[in-house]
Symmetry: C2
Subunit: 223 residues, 2 copies
């Protein structure tokens, strides 16, 4: 081999939705390069141990946050000689979606890693280490784009939810107000919702609880 091998890392944009705002998990780096800067959860691929890069990012998230995201999607590669002062490096980046309620539960269960993480609104990010700001921009664009024609937003909701909660989630991601009856007609047409038979809100303003029929991504643009 005539050329040095690149450093291969994985990074995740762990997204959640809290009080109508998209937030991501960041931690403060405790060593160079970019010591003290905020950064995405990530780490080096352990060749011979990780089966593939998806296994690498799952291991890193488990080790650093104690957490297994229900939804994980490969985003894209960021690479080059300038992004890490140490050497030519490559990051395989991922988008992970987590309901805020699951994060609360994990935090209360005392997952050690999560102590080091802060959730920050994507609209108020501090300067980030490496090219992590570009990774976050790409991740948010992917989520917003894909949400317009798929059930991706469901992965930011608890397992059971009201139609109003569902609509507010789509509105927060798409950054637009949706017309209630159109929205409900679209969900009916997709045929992805299942009525749980349960209700919330008491006798005065009861609201039915729904769940996603099949917890795989429904993508209207495919097939």
């Amino acid at each position: 081999m005539d050329y040095p091998l690149p450093l291969v890392t994985v990074d995740a944009v762990l997204l959640t939705l809290r009080a109508g705002a998209l937030e991501i998990a960041l931690h403060q780096r405790d060593r160079a390069p970019f010591k003290n800067a905020m950064a995405l959860p990530g780490g080096v691929v352990h060749a011979d141990e990780d089966d593939h890069t998806e296994a690498s990012i799952r291991r890193v998230l488990r080790e650093k946050t104690g957490f297994e995201p229900r939804y994980l999607e490969q985003l894209q590669v960021f690479s080059g000689k300038d992004r890490d002062p140490r050497q030519w490096s490559l990051s395989v980046s991922y988008v992970a979606l987590v309901p805020a309620a699951e994060l609360e539960a994990a935090s209360q269960a005392g997952f050690p890693g999560f102590q080091g993480f802060r959730f920050v609104s994507v609209d108020a990010l501090p300067p980030l280490a490496f090219d992590h700001a570009s990774i976050v921009t790409a991740a948010v664009a992917r989520l917003r784009n894909k949400s317009s024609y798929s059930t991706l937003p469901f992965f930011l909701l608890p397992e059971r939810f009201t139609l109003t909660e569902l609509q507010h989630t789509y509105e927060a991601i798409l950054q637009t107000r949706l017309e209630k009856s159109n929205f409900r007609r679209k969900m009916d047409a997709w045929g992805v919702l299942e009525d749980t038979g349960e209700q919330v809100g008491g006798a005065q303003r009861p609201a039915r609880l729904y769940r996603l029929k099949d917890f795989t991504l429904f993508d209207r643009s495919v097939g």
Copy 2:
């Protein structure tokens, strides 16, 4: 570093459309592993020389085929310990689109690399080296999916084309017949076509030649 560094490669699915069939460029490997098997054009990232992996694949395509594709898009990473018998490896794969007429011209101009390549229909592929069959499947799915809402198919056409050629290109990619007046209405609504003022076909059945107004990807799903 406690772990060996992965081998980092780039591979391209160079797609063209000929006689209504999607075809990809393949060459026969002249060394192990997978000696004599057909494979995608690809190569190892030259860290310290390539600015990033997109520069790597452009260099590889230039060296192996003499060709600069007008459209190049990062597809996804394929990685793992089993895909290459030599070591844990990672391929950043790309989709490249090339009009058949440009390939003809390149071939006649005698680009040395292209002698070694064959264009094979994606519906009649031989067994491929490594996990290249999976890369091709992902590339064709990406092209088909994205073509339903974007101007991606234009990159398989010559610079000037008739509306019938444009419709046949969409039909070949989407594997469906499109209704002529609906198709033309959609293209009008997109506002991406420019009348060149030229015609083909003689006085009996003249057809106007169009071109794409702005040769960047128009993606209806974004913005």
